[in-house]
């Protein structure tokens, strides 16, 4: 996983609540067997509308998505995170994320930042009024900075450390091999097995 320390880029406001992962990447894209090439599927239905915010020339190349509450609800598809990253987003800001989406994003190095709804709205307004304004998401200082906005955000220490170091979870867990083996040795005999050994 790529490490995330700090990122500065232009923001794009997505003024919708409850953006579910079916909207982020529709199901027919899920037939792909790779982790890349999902950028054209991102918000596919909405992008047919020339007025949709991602289609506006002024927001081209933006890398910070500022979304409404309850972003990433619904299906667990990690493809939603890949699609946002393939398109070029480095961070998503919202007042509330669905749990699975948030877990998936942090595992892939897409920073999801939770800010109070009024701060989110201020950032959206800023991006609408001045699409060239830059927003900095600083994971080291746990701050979001933009003209007229300075907001602290929380992220649990462990997730933050993994992101800052770009650490891969599996390698970390495999260091606990002996603890896993010890646990396996004491599992009760009645636990189900999918195949008979």
């Amino acid at each position: 996983m790529e490490a995330f320390t700090t990122h500065t880029g232009r923001a794009v406001p997505l003024r919708r609540s409850n953006v579910d992962t079916d909207q982020i990447i529709p199901a027919h894209w899920l037939k792909k067997v790779t982790r890349d090439g999902f950028e054209d599927g991102l918000f596919e239905a909405w992008r047919k509308d020339p007025q949709f915010v991602l289609n506006q020339e002024a927001h081209r190349g933006a890398t910070v998505l500022v979304a409404g509450p309850d972003f990433g609800t619904g299906s667990s598809r990690e493809h939603a995170v890949w699609a946002l990253q393939n398109y070029g987003f480095k961070a998503v800001i919202s007042s509330r994320f669905a749990d699975i989406f948030r877990g998936n994003s942090l595992k892939n190095g897409l920073l999801t930042v939770v800010l109070p709804q009024e701060t989110v709205e201020r950032l959206q307004q800023l991006a609408e009024e001045d699409p060239a304004a830059e927003v900095t998401v600083d994971l080291v200082a746990r701050k979001v900075l933009a003209p007229g906005v300075e907001a602290d955000f929380e992220l649990d220490e462990n997730a933050r450390w993994r992101l800052l170091e770009g650490l891969d979870d599996i390698s970390l867990t495999l260091r606990e091999e002996s603890a896993i083996t010890a646990y396996e040795a004491k599992r009760p005999a009645f636990k189900p097995r999918t195949v008979v050994a």
């Binding site: 899920l30 309850d70 606990e176």
Partner: protein
């Protein structure tokens, strides 16, 4: 201080606990399907890793599979590649697979319980959010992303930060004609699609204890629609009776040991939940959704709400967008909404009791002109049972299509889709924009409401049907 059911199951699976770090939890059962696994197997291959516990892993094909002509090659080359990728991966890594055409094939959340693999007090994961279904057995079961699928394949564990717990107590008794689906839709409308966020929900109380295992699965299945990570119900005699004798249920002294342990899996009287919600079952009625998220629902007897009636600005905006997408106007009675398609199936309502319920409404009646009704059993076993009971004949005699098992129109990854602007009454779990096909409009309903809707051509419950809808039996 006592512990809740979820905390007990959690504690029993901690492999390693350290200050300031997530707990490392052991996973008892890992379910795989074709959509969320290819990139995970790829990751293993790249890192030169094996599947640690093939004996705790099982795969089936469901999301992409066709429901017609299953003996012919799959027409869509991309779907075919995905299924072939799963087959290759399972062969290479030694994972048990039930492919299309196999008697144990079906929707992953129908297959696990019916094999008896889903058991009380286990941890169950799958790269699919409706893994919450398995919580009906008192399992801690939740959906994971593809990176976590890879993690479980490689280590049989997951590092997880603890969840909060919420009690949803359903007092009283469900009135006649009110089903588990109506109950969960009403719960979601009450707490909202974000209401369960960060929580494991425990459904409890007299109305829950009375539910069959299949009805409990319907309730737990849609926990994710309330934003929760998981839903659970304490195991009891209903649970044990369902499991006994199933292919992977414990036997002999193992059975006795298991039941003795399972009986300890109840929230202690002095345990505290982080949040509590109480619902009075007696106040519930058949429930349908009118909008584009599962929280936008109302009793069938209600009218389409006026967005202006919402105080919260983002809810108001969401309602406006939903009405526009759904092609509905505020104040329109829900009962007057006509549909083109009725879908009975999915991991929410594709089990045998659901098919029986729909068939009992359709028996001797006909699907309305201009309405197409698809009945898609949740698994091949469910289909076989339905055929044995003659339910398939009831459906086809009524003019419905009897299809092969799979996810089908629940998400329209296979050819079963709504056309733009088409409207469905669907027993599935998501009414998102385009979920059942681009531009398609979905109303979530119970199997009973689905069947009555098919007969009348507009949203309806069995109580709306009259004897006049019954066909005159042939020869009379």
């Amino acid at each position: 201080m006592g512990r809740t059911l979820a905390e007990k199951v959690w504690d029993d699976h901690v492999v390693r606990r350290a200050e300031g770090e997530p707990d490392l939890l052991f996973i008892d059962l890992h379910l795989l399907h074709e959509v969320t696994s290819p990139q995970a197997f790829d990751g293993l291959r790249k890192a030169g890793r094996q599947v640690r516990r093939t004996d705790l892993t099982i795969a089936t094909e469901d999301h992409n599979t066709p429901t017609l002509d299953i003996d012919k090659p799959i027409a869509d080359p991309v779907s075919r590649t995905q299924l072939e990728t799963l087959r290759k991966n399972c062969a290479e890594f030694g994972v048990r697979l039930h492919p299309l055409g196999d008697v144990e094939q079906g929707v992953v959340h129908v297959v696990g319980p019916q094999l008896g693999l889903t058991q009380p007090g286990t941890t169950v994961v799958c790269g699919d959010s409706h893994t919450s279904t398995h919580g009906a057995f008192g399992a801690l079961a939740f959906g994971i992303g593809t990176s976590q699928v890879e993690h479980v394949l490689a280590t049989q564990t997951l590092p997880l930060a603890p969840f909060k717990t919420m009690a949803i107590t359903v007092e009283g008794e469900l009135p006649d004609g009110v089903t588990a689906k109506d109950l969960i839709l009403a719960i979601i409308a009450k707490i909202g699609t974000g209401g369960g966020q960060g929580y494991v929900l425990e459904y409890r109380g007299p109305a829950i204890e009375k539910l069959s295992m299949e009805a409990r699965m319907t309730v737990c299945n849609m926990s994710i629609e309330a934003g929760a990570r998981a839903g659970m119900i304490a195991p009891d005699d209903t649970t044990f009776a369902y499991l006994r004798g199933r292919a992977h249920a414990p036997e002999g002294t193992d059975w006795d040991d298991a039941v003795a342990y399972w009986r300890t899996l109840r929230t202690d009287d002095d345990a505290a939940f982080d949040a509590e919600v109480v619902i009075d079952a007696a106040e519930l009625a058949p429930f349908v959704t009118w909008g584009t998220n599962p929280g936008q629902g109302a009793p069938l007897s209600a009218r389409v709400p006026d967005p202006a009636s919402y105080e919260d600005a983002s809810e108001r905006q969401a309602a406006e967008k939903a009405l526009e997408y759904m092609g509905l106007t505020a104040g329109q009675p829900l009962r007057e909404i006509g549909v083109d398609t009725v879908f009975v199936g999915s991991c929410t309502n594709g089990r045998i009791e659901d098919l029986r319920a729909a068939a009992s409404v359709l028996e001797g009646r006909s699907v309305a002109d201009g309405v197409r009704m698809l009945v898609v059993p949740g698994s091949v076993r469910v289909a076989l049972q339905a055929v044995e009971e003659g339910l398939d004949k009831v459906f086809t005699a009524a003019g419905a299509e009897w299809r092969h098992a799979g996810c089908s129109m629940c998400l329209g990854m296979n050819p079963d889709q709504l056309a733009p602007g088409e409207r469905s009454a669907s027993t599935s779990n998501r009414n998102f924009e385009g979920r059942q096909g681009k531009g398609g409009r979905t109303h979530l309903v119970s199997p009973q409401v689905a069947a009555a809707t098919a007969v009348l051509g507009h949203l309806a419950s069995p109580a709306d049907l009259s004897d006049a809808d019954v066909r005159t039996p042939a020869g009379v």
